[in-house]
Structures are given as C-alpha cells and as structure tokens.
Symmetry: C2
Subunit: 318 residues, 2 copies
C-alpha cells in the first residue's frame, strides 16, 4: 500500500507513474483541497480533478490542466453575455462540477462525491480529499489585499508578490475518512513534487496529518519540486523566496525535515545532496523530470526504492 | 405602457407580437418564477429565460424551449459520468444559469440579475420576475407524492394526474420591485395565453398582485390558452379538468372573472362567447394561434384594441 500527498499536475504525473509499477488499487492519493473554489454556484476541486483526469487518461497534458478534447461553448457564451470567465471551465469539465455540486447539495461529503466521480471515470486508485470540511488557501499580496488561491493563481497568474499565507478553516477541519489510516497503514508515504507551501501545506495544516507523517517519518519520501533553483511549473520558486525560504531542494528539505526521512532531488541538483543531509534527510539523486509516463514510472520506482532502501536501479543515495 | 403577466412559450410569443406593434421599451413583462429550480447548484428560471430568449430573437422555436444553435456537450458528458441529465441544459443556455447564479451568490436580487441578463441580450422590454423571494410550484400527484414543478413537467412529462397544487413561499413573498407599479400604471394589462393554474396562478398567489388587477379589472385583457377544449402546448387542459375546472375558454373565464374584464378566445370557440359573458367578462373572438410572428402581432393588436374598445380590425366583440 502506497499513500501519496498530492497537489495538482506534478503529483498527478507521479501518481500516473506509480500506478504503472504497483497495482493501481494499492495506491491512495490524499489530495489538496485548499485550491477549491465556489464559482457560479459550482464546487470546483481543481487538484482532485487533475488527479482524477490524469489517472483516467483523460487529461490534456499539453495544456497542463483540464480534459483533452475539450470544448468551450459555455465559457465563450458566458464571456459574450458579460459573465466572469477568468476561470476557464471547459464544457466536459463543467459536467464534473455539476455532478459534484449536485451530490454535495444532496448531502454527500466531498469524499463521497469524489469516490463517485472516480468510479464514473474508471479510476480504481483511491482518491481522497485531504478533508471534507472546507479549507481555503488565502494569500496576502505584498502591499495588497488578501485573495483566494484561484484569484492569485489564475486571476493574477501568480505574477504578484505574496507576503503571507494561511489556510482558512484548516484548524477546525478533520482529515477526511480514511486519510490518517491510509498514512498509517502504507508501506511508503510519498510527498509528491507539488508546491510545498500551496499544495502540500494545506494537508499539513489539517490537524492530525502532519503528526501521522512524523510518526512514520523514516518511510516518508518526498520529491523536490524545485530543480536547479526553479519550479518546473507554477510559482513555488518565487513563493518560497517571498516567504523567506531558500529557493532550492535544500529549502524544500528544511520544510519537510520533520515529516519526511528522504528527499529525492534532481540530478541537476546533485551538489545540494550535502545540504539536504544537513537538514536531516537522506538524499536520493535521480532524474525527476516526468516528461513522459515512462520517466514518471522510473521516478516512481526511485521513490519506492528510496523508502528506507539505500540503493536501487536508476537512483543512488548521495 | 403595457404590462403583461407571462408564463413561458405562449406568453413569449405574444410578447414578441406586442413589441412589433408598440415600442418594446413600453412593455413590461411580469414573469412567473414558480417553475424556477435549483439544479446542480444553479438557479434556473425557465419562464424568464424563455421570455428573454424569445424577445432577443435567440429562441429555438421548433424545439419550443432554449436557445437556437444550441449544443449539448455538458449534458452528454454529465450523462456519461452518471449525473442527473433529465433536465436538459444546453451549453449556451448554461452560461445564462452560471451568470444568474453568480450574481445571486454575489448578493444581487433575481430582479437585478434578470435586468442584467436582459441588458446583455439586448432586450429593452422590461422583464420582471413576479417576486424576488422564492416561490415554488408544488403538485401533489394523484395517489402519489408531492413533487416540484419541473419533476412534474419535465421529469414525468406531465403525464400524471394531479390532485392539488400549491405555491410554496407565495404567502410570504412580495411582488418584485416595480411589479405593482407596472400593473397600476399600464394603459392595458394582458394575461398572456399561459397555463392559468401553473403559469398565471403563481403571480396571482403573491400578495398584492391579484388585488392590483382587480382594482383595474376593466382594462385587463386575458387570452385563453385553451382552444377547442385543448391546450396548444403543455398540460393546461388536463390539469384544469383534474382540479375541477371546465376545460374550455369558459373555464378560463371563470378563473379570471375577478381580475380581467375581457377574454380573447379563439375563432374555433366562437360558440362559447355566451358562456364567457355569463362568467362576467366581455368576450372577443379572434384568431389566437401564433404560428408565426405576424400572427402574434395580429393577436397583440386584437388584445390591445379589446381593452375597453368594442371593436377593431381583425377582431369583433361577440
């Protein structure tokens, strides 16, 4: 049993690699919901959908989000009649949001709605929201207001400096049913190469999840989303710097030092292995760029073999 | 100034006729919202949309509802993933519901959201919901449960007998801003050829509206939606019978006797003119089938000239 804490695209790609090397139903993804947003009355869970669509083989990997073969009739029309269309929702994608919103309105939990969507999409990997209770990532912009995650990320294209970050609702939230058990029972827990602050931060802020990781820290393996001082995608690099963290795999290691025993860093960062070790983590140096599913599977193999195992094919303990 | 109480398709067609013979901005439509439904988290106002789409020249007159040039990507996908797709929402139509729901979620009233939609669609006729407060038509099925309007009308294709009818929320609802003023200030008020019980019944159940009509009954002109004992569209005929009313223009006259001074009935029903008069209304016999916009304009002319005027072209007082 493998359990992975997951954000969006980077996580989804690693999960797609994982389910190529272990039976898909032996994998549990605990997914960030801090990015969730209510828009036009609809409940949208972007990271859950990215994970589900990717595992279902339906994701648009070129665009980097949403469904392949998507159309945009609703959004184009919404723009034409003066509606808010800054958050682009494809027609096929909208069906997901309608279904989720219907189920929530009928009294289902987000976990239940997610399980039903996974089933409808043929995804046998267990996909759990980190919490059924609402948690919303809020960012205070430097010299600006506090905004919700999607206004920062999509509305302002994360091209604004951030001075602080909080996860509204996290303190009162409980981990969704099965989350703590999945963390406790897994042979390996993976912290996916997602934004440490924006994607892994929210689940860690839900009481109980960080403690569950600390309790089994030696078999928690993280993958650095920072390669050669930059994020492969999104604002993780700038945000780390803006919030006072070192913008490197070492900075990631320090953030994860209490909850992960091992950090996988990219070959490009081999020189940082000492810094990672100095932060208290084992360090595995390996190719981490998941430019295709085969490379993702290779990274997944590295991650699994790194869980307490000193060496394995395709990777080495630095 | 003309004010019309309006349901869906029949009303929309008469309104389209009216705005061909009087300046469109001199017409106010007070539209039934008893059919409104919250579905998938969206607020849907079918009669308002039928009126707006028709006045905007965007309605699909062959299908009888929704927008022309519509596509169905969202609904097809929703059905594919197991969602509720019994209430068909076209892609372009969905944009309307997203915009309305957004505006309501942001604190706008239904009147305000409707005015914004009208403006976006280029409709200069004033379209008012009968009430901003929620009123929901509920039907008790014979030997069955109570269901909402859309479950009766769409879900069961109105092919079930009804034993009673109520308008939940009506007693506590207030007419939307401008409704009573529009009824009071109009030179003529028109009761469109909509279902007397299901489409005109809800506004009449909102306190103040029926009284405002009674106060000016002599210049209120109704058009019978029952022609030769049958409804042109929908279940008005069966429902009248099931609820103990005569299924004819005379039955309609009796329902409207307290609020309308004149009833326009179809040529096919010329023999019923005496019955209409016996119910206390003047009776105008004229062609009422609005098979094209020109015929709708002719009916509109008949209606306006019938308002206290004994005769006019294309119609005669029977």
């Amino acid at each position: 049993m493998i359990t992975a804490l997951a954000g969006g695209v980077g996580a989804a790609r690693l999960l797609r690699g994982l389910v190529r090397i272990v039976p898909p139903d032996q994998v549990t993804a605990v997914v960030n919901t801090g990015d969730d947003i209510e828009l036009h009355g609809l409940h949208i869970s972007p990271d859950i959908d990215t994970v589900l669509y990717t595992l279902a083989g339906l994701s648009d990997d070129e665009r980097g989000w949403g469904l392949s073969g998507e159309s945009w009739v609703v959004m184009d029309r919404l723009a034409a009649i003066g509606g808010d269309s800054w958050f682009r929702l494809g027609d096929r994608d909208l069906a997901t949001h309608l279904l989720r919103t219907s189920r929530l309105a009928a009294g289902a939990t987000l976990s239940e709605a997610t399980a039903e969507l996974a089933s409808a999409l043929g995804v046998v990997t267990r996909v759990l929201p980190m919490a059924d209770d609402p948690v919303r990532t809020k960012l205070t912009l430097r010299n600006g207001p506090e905004v919700g995650f999607q206004e920062y990320f999509v509305g302002r294209r994360h091209a604004v400096a951030v001075s602080s970050l909080r996860f509204a609702g996290a303190a009162a939230a409980r981990p969704a049913p099965g989350v703590l058990e999945a963390i406790g029972a897994a042979t390996t827990v993976v912290l996916c190469p997602s934004n440490p602050l924006l994607s892994i931060g929210p689940p860690l802020a839900v009481p109980g999840i960080a403690d569950a990781l600390t309790d089994r820290r030696e078999t928690v393996v993280a993958v650095s989303p920072i390669v050669a001082g930059a994020a492969l995608k999104g604002p993780a690099d700038r945000l780390l710097g803006e919030l006072g963290h070192e913008v490197s795999a070492v900075g990631v290691a320090r953030l994860y030092a209490g909850i992960a025993g091992t950090l996988v860093i990219d070959e490009a960062d081999a020189a940082l292995a000492g810094g990672v070790r100095a932060a208290g983590l084992r360090c595995v140096v390996a190719p981490t760029i998941m430019s295709d599913p085969e490379r993702a599977a290779r990274l997944a193999r590295t991650v699994l073999s790194a869980a307490g195992h000193p060496t394995s094919e395709g990777s080495h303990l630095a």
